[in-house]
Amino acid sequence: MSAVIDHGHAHGHEHHPSGIMRWITTTNHKDIGTLYLWFSFTMFLVGGILALGIRAELFQPGLQFWHPEFFNQLTSMHGLIMVFGAIMPAFVGFANWQVPMMIGAPDMAFARMNNWSFWLLPVAATLLVSSFFVPGGAVAAGWTIYAPLSTQMGPGMDLGIFALHIMGASSIMGSINIITTILNMRAPGMTLMKMPLFVCTWLITAYLLIAVMPVLAGAVTMVLTDRHFGTSFFNAAGGGDPVMFQHIFWFFGHPEVYIMILPGFGIISQVIPAFARKPLFGYSSMVYATASIAILSFIVWAHHMFTVGMPTAGVLFFMYATVLIAVPTGVKVFNWLATMWRGSMTFETPMLFAVGFIFVFTMGGFTGLVLAIMPIDIQLQDTYYVVAHFHYVLVAGSLFSLFAGFYFWVPKWTGRMYDEKLGKWHFWLSMIFFNVTFFPMHFLGLAGMPRRIPDYALQFAGFNEIASIGAFGFGLSQILFLWIILKVTVLGRGERAAARPWEGADTLEWTHLESPAPYHSFHEQPVVK
């Protein structure tokens, strides 16, 4: 496409160490992106196994496999591992691979810090997972680690707290790197409003991370000092207040859920125009919608805690602010639909996942609106309806967008096409089993089944059976995904990919770089008109 394609030359001066040291010492954004993605996939499988432990127990009423204490550890660790170990690092992995290539930069701004922010993660994950083996077991206070449970449980919580500290530090360093790269290293001519949407959403996400990860670090530090150093932040006897933990936690927690979905919005906004062969409809409204979602996320936190007792004025404020978020989210969904309108669409695996994302994520958005209405929320608080809601937005939202992004960009990363037939199988199996697992949970929640409890009343047995069958189906479908990944990466099978295998894709990595992307790309920055 242009003179910047410089194979041969780029490979000419690679003097990096080989073997394991290549990966430990690497400062290359593509290597680090790969490390992030493998790490997050590993954690995804670990968290998935814990989820299957939960669903095995809930297949039938009564206690089958686990003690209730261990069940609490399963639910808590499943949440923590999926949020902090799988979804967040996976998006950072995408940012590492894609942001420099999409803005025409040679690498990330701080290459050595990039290496460090990745290698903190395995340390944190080891701490977190090893907490299963200390007396009293792993974190069992829910992924939200509410006080006073978290201030009273055994040493597993201390390991969890340190793991959160380390993962927080890693996220902050990663975000600083991403912001600096995007703000300072864009190709000449690429203004902020000309950036691909994936880059734009990641810029906003990175700001969110810098704003709220330190607040989480503060909250867990307070739990730590309450546990060991005699402070009483959350201890009523010493003048503290356990409800305050919920306020501080959700001040972090609500922006956090957008941290886990905004980059997904970015991926979908790259994939849909590429396969509809039309430019994205309403680019600037997409940017402003993303920014307003990010800003609104700071003033809605108390909708997670309507039942703690709040003045009516406070409840109404948080309720209206929450409902307001539906507006920019709706703008995004309608823009995606308008992009597809009269496009010449084809449905390769990335597009299937993107369209599936819109369908299922929107359902999760609607149940979110239902939960935002305080009188209904009082009924549904801590039931399976909530579990259904956040899995519709986190699995069908974040995870499906990650799948879409993987199939979309893997030809650029490896230079080979993934197995299209298996990819389509992966989509349909995931989509069907996802709904088999989580759709019945709406009914369970409406009927009053509480979450985080290892046993249930007999009338819930039928739907739980269906949900457990779906969960095992979904889990096994991801083994197929592992095979698809291995086939296209490690085994190097699949037909060679062209520099621009998707004809509608028009960002710099497709138009200016060969497939696979050279180890060092964009030594000379392209000029964007």
Binding site: N184, P214, V215, G218, N235, A237, D241, M244, I248
Partner: protein, 182 residues
């Protein structure tokens, strides 16, 4: 931009963003006094101060009788703690005194803090404590027994449908971390 200039610009931005992160870490802790202030201003959590009693609230409404029940609990604290009367019948607006008795069963001094709660929840706004042992921490010597008063009145504006109010205290040991795990 030369590579040198770019490196300098990147480092400058790094510094600014690190400052942002540090400020937000402090902000997390600043939420603690901020939250307490909000509770104080809105009167959500004034459990450790006497309630303000307006003059018109002390008009006794002899036409109504409210049954006030008393309850006492301890949380991981080796004290015996009980009300000296299970319940009293009061007219709204009438100032009433009741006694609680607490005994330290240990052979060392222990400091505790009582935290009140009420049932039904709607009664909270109308239950005014003028004097209470829960306003301060209580330190009991080895084996000491103490009788402690609560002086309260019920606001005559208490909704008509409420005829029974329960006042419940829980004593916690005040010593930070050990208090949590006994």
């Amino acid at each position: 931009m030369t590579p040198d200039e770019r490196a300098r610009a990147n480092r400058k931005l790094l510094g600014k963003l690190l400052v942002c992160a540090a400020i937000m870490f402090g902000f997390g802790f600043a939420l603690v006094p901020f939250y307490e202030k909000i509770c104080e201003v809105t009167g959500i959590r004034n459990v450790f101060q006497p309630d303000a009693v307006a003059a018109e609230n002390t008009q006794v409404d002899a036409a109504r009788s409210i049954s006030v029940e008393f309850d006492a609990n301890t949380q991981r604290l080796p004290w015996t703690f009980k009300p000296l009367q299970a319940s009293v019948s009061v007219h709204p607006g009438e100032v009433t005194q009741v006694l609680y008795e607490v005994r330290n069963t240990l052979d060392r001094p222990v400091t505790g803090q009582a935290v009140p709660s009420y049932g039904p929840q709607q009664a909270v706004l109308y239950f005014k404590k003028v004097e209470c042992f829960c306003f301060q921490q209580q330190t009991l010597g080895p084996g000491e027994v103490r009788k402690m008063p609560v002086v309260f009145l019920i606001d005559p504006k208490l909704p008509r449908e409420i005829n029974t109010v329960t006042l419940s205290y829980t004593f916690f040991e005040v010593n930070g971390a050990q208090g949590g795990r006994g």
